[in-house]
């Protein structure tokens, strides 16, 4: 127990110290973790040592959670759109890399079996490092981001046939034991057709449970309003899927990814995401630290030339293959460079496969040591390569092809976030949706969310006072946040938090009445809408019309009233806490408003429209006796 706490302290301290420094230096969190790992590892401080491998195995669960979260963000429609890239680019990348590595090793005199096995192992890239880095830099939605993701997904799928293939390539005596990937899979010992059946059954179970059981279960937990139960249920879901997948011998990461995709259209998407996110982040961090710590500098020192040659060769070869594929796929120049740089490394599955291949007598100990070092170093190099792209390549490419834009149009990648979807919020939402603006909607009433979803609206359950939930709902990419919560105090609190934590978004807020409006203005919200004003003003205009005013005149008077009243409210917001000053100012404002609107005796409408009133013109004509027009010729 004490050992565990001690290691935990070391790992957490390393993360807490290294990551902020790395981020401040613009290196990204992944590089920070890796460096932290190197520092606490056996080569430098030696605070952690032999248990590095075990920690890495445990922390691989971070990858599992990451794929769950990614699955949540991916709707089935997007996945379907990526199918071409997944099979085409992914398949080409794996096969070509595999054959190229086999060819090169054959030229160095290795057996073809060893070459092929090494090729299969090195064809895989690091899902953890690539996705974490792309997400951190906000490149996931770019062309290169989407294609990288598709290739990584294909690689994760390819692990299963590779695991099946490797034992067939054995040239040496099998090492006793046999840990590896399929360990603990009881389905392994079943006949082939039963295994297939079990596999399909497991996948069907994930889809079925995700569709039919999870939503009602979460709904009832949501109604109980026990936040930690919700978190526990989210973790149970992820871990349950992972265990099920391991039992049937499939990749747990793929299983949770599938679970995520199934739940991507559910109303609990954002809430689940923000519940799992912190665990995912921490475990991934520990995983990266473990990768750093496991880099064997002793071995590298001994065989410096060989290891560095292997790293450079690995990165160069994968880069060349990916670059070629990107070109053939017709990606834009800067995008296919990013795509090739991002994926030019070995992956965490490589570690697993190396030990599996060694145990099965495919690779010798000497080769596997160099392979592990090369994979780890190439992973560590990736954030640096991405930094190179960001600092050197991207600025040039963008300068060269700056698009000429005629005007600002609303862009779908800058969505609107609506909080509170009662009568008020849903009217706003329907207007925006009708205009083709994509909105993310959060509401805290589980029953209402349920009903609205059955009407086909994209509404998510969630407590918007949680910053992490706002983040996972995309507030960082949003341009507008519209606060329509019925409870005025809650709405105000949200406005305060959001304008403080996310100053880039424009906040538009519903105000219950005048006092709410004052408070919202005071909290820094520039756009405040008193919920009853527009309806009241329309009613007033209709009343005038019913009393015999002309429709246009009453409508224009109402508009003028509304504008001035809004300006007054905004002005009075600065002094509303001083009761005396406020009262006298407010009295003056009311008098002023009445006077302005009533001032014009002839036109019942608006003073500013004096031009439509010919009084002064008539006076000038009357004053003339010779009938000449008022303008001298």
């Amino acid at each position: 127990m004490q050992d565990f706490l001690l290691s935990a302290t070391v790992y957490l301290a390393a993360a807490v110290i290294a990551v902020p420094i790395a981020k401040r230096l613009g290196l990204g969190s992944v590089l920070g973790y890796l460096i932290a790992g190197v520092v606490i590892g056996p080569s430098v401080l030696g605070v952690v040592g032999a248990e590095g491998q075990d920690v890495m195995h445990a922390a691989e669960f971070g990858v599992v959670m990451m794929l769950f979260v990614i699955g949540l963000e991916l709707e089935p429609a997007l996945l379907w759109r990526l199918r071409g890239a997944l099979l085409g680019l992914g398949g080409a990348q794996v096969v070509i890399t595999m054959l190229a590595v086999a060819g090169i090793l054959a030229a160095f005199g290795f057996a073809w079996q060893e070459g092929l096995a090494t090729g299969a192992i090195l064809a895989l890239s690091s899902t953890a490092i690539v996705l974490q880095s792309l997400q951190e830099k906000g490149w996931m939605r770019s062309d290169a981001g989407e294609k990288s993701f598709a290739v990584l997904l294909f690689q994760d799928l390819a692990v299963i046939p590779i695991l099946a293939l490797l034992p067939l390539l054995a040239t040496q005596a099998v090492v006793a034991g046999g840990d590896g990937h399929g360990a603990g899979a009881w389905a392994e010992h079943l006949p082939g057709w039963q295994r297939a059946l079990v596999t399909f059954g497991a996948v069907a179970a994930i889809v079925g449970v995700g569709r039919l059981v999870v939503p009602p279960a979460f709904r009832s937990i949501a109604k109980a309003r026990l936040r930690e139960t919700f978190t526990a249920a989210a973790l149970l879901l992820v871990i349950g899927i992972a265990v099920l997948m391991q039992l049937v011998g499939l990749s747990p990461a793929l299983g949770t990814f599938l679970g995520g995709v199934v739940l991507a259209t559910s109303e609990f998407r954002h809430e689940l995401e923000s519940d799992v996110e912190p665990f995912k982040g921490l475990l991934l961090g520990v995983f990266f630290i473990a990768v750093g710590a496991s880099i064997d500098f002793g071995l590298i020192g001994e065989r410096l030339l060989l290891v560095s040659g292997a790293v450079v060769g690995l990165v160069a070869l994968k880069f060349a293959v990916l670059w070629g594929i990107g070109r053939v796929a017709g990606m834009a120049r800067d995008q296919h460079l990013l795509f090739a740089l991002a994926l030019a490394q070995g992956g965490e599955f490589g570690f697993v496969l190396v030990s599996f291949a060694t145990q099965n007598g495919v690779l010798g100990e000497a080769v596997s040591g160099v392979l592990v070092a090369a994979i780890a170093l190439s992973m560590a190099a990736t954030p640096l390569l991405l930094l190179f792209w960001e600092r050197v390549i991207a600025p040039r490419a963008q300068a060269a092809s700056r698009p000429v834009r005629a005007m600002d149009r609303p862009e779908s990648e800058h969505p609107v976030l609506i909080v509170g979807f009662g009568d008020f919020g849903s009217s706003v939402g329907r207007l925006l949706t009708a205009a083709g603006v994509e909105c993310t909607v959060l509401d805290l009433d589980a029953d209402r969310v349920d009903v609205l979803r059955r009407l086909g609206l994209r509404v998510y359950f969630g407590d918007a006072s949680r910053e992490d939930l706002l983040r996972s709902a995309g507030i960082e990419r949003a341009r507008l946040v519209i606060l329509c919560v019925g409870d005025a105090a809650a709405n105000l609190e949200l406005a305060r938090r959001i304008s403080h934590a996310f100053p880039h978004v424009r906040v538009l807020a519903r105000a219950a009445g005048r006092l709410s409006a004052y408070e919202l203005y005071e909290a820094g919200v520039a756009h405040v809408y008193r919920e009853s004003v527009d309806a009241a003003v329309r009613l007033g205009a209709d009343a005038l019309q019913a009393l015999g005013w002309r429709a246009h005149a009453s409508w224009r008077l109402a508009q003028a009233f509304r504008k001035r009243d809004e300006a007054n409210t905004q002005r009075l917001a600065s002094i509303f806490r001083d009761q005396e000053a406020h009262l006298s100012e407010a009295r003056a404002a009311i008098r002023d408003l009445e006077r302005t609107l009533r001032d014009d005796r002839l036109s019942p409408a608006v003073q500013d429209e004096a031009a439509w009133d010919a009084e002064s013109l008539r006076r000038e004509f009357k004053g003339m006796t010779d009938g000449k027009p008022p303008v001298p010729q």
Partner: protein
């Protein structure tokens, strides 16, 4: 520029226009030019008369930039003329606020030049259709410049649009230099 130019731009569907987007882009950032998009400023046609009058006072050249709708200006520009050009301010015995300034019409029309003439489909020339604007300028003691018209926008290609934008920018520069 020695004479500041105020472009009163009126297009109710700017986002759908091909020609005005290009033509406006060519002038809106020129030095000495104030590009004033009326539909953007007053989506509900509720024009702030005092503000508009102050803008007019501060500029020497006024340009009406608009498409030719039903042989006339778009409604907001007519509303603007109705409300801003007040008696006693813009015209009348004591209305001399605009005296000596230049009014330039810059408009686009879907039909070709040949359609606007005694023998053409529309019977009257652009200049004849613009008589109300010309008379307005005269009443306000403004100089009415020869209208700048881009006809045939329905059939115009990208090269034609680019040429129009260039010629418009040259016109605005010339007006600014006086």
């Amino acid at each position: 520029m020695s004479r500041p130019v105020l472009i009163l731009f009126a297009h109710p569907a700017y986002e759908k226009s091909r020609v005005h987007v290009a033509v406006a882009a060519a002038v809106r950032d020129l030095p000495g030019v104030t590009f004033h998009d009326l539909y953007e400023e007053y989506p509900d046609l509720d024009i702030d008369v005092r503000r508009e009058q102050a803008l007019l006072t501060a500029h020497e050249v006024v340009v009406f930039q608009h498409p030719f709708y039903w042989y006339s200006v778009p409604p907001i520009l007519k509303q603007w003329m109705d409300l801003v050009l007040e008696h006693g301010w813009a015209y009348g015995a004591s209305g001399r606020a605009l005296e000596g300034k230049t009014l330039q019409v810059a408009m686009t029309a879907g039909g070709r030049e040949q359609a606007y003439g005694p023998e053409g489909f529309n019977r009257f020339s652009f200049r004849e259709f613009l008589v109300p604007v010309e008379a307005t300028a005269r009443l306000c003691r403004m100089h009415f410049a020869e209208p700048w018209v881009v006809p045939g926008t329905h059939v115009m290609d990208a090269a034609g649009i680019a040429a129009a934008a260039e010629s418009y920018a040259a016109l605005i520069r010339r007006l600014g230099e006086g």
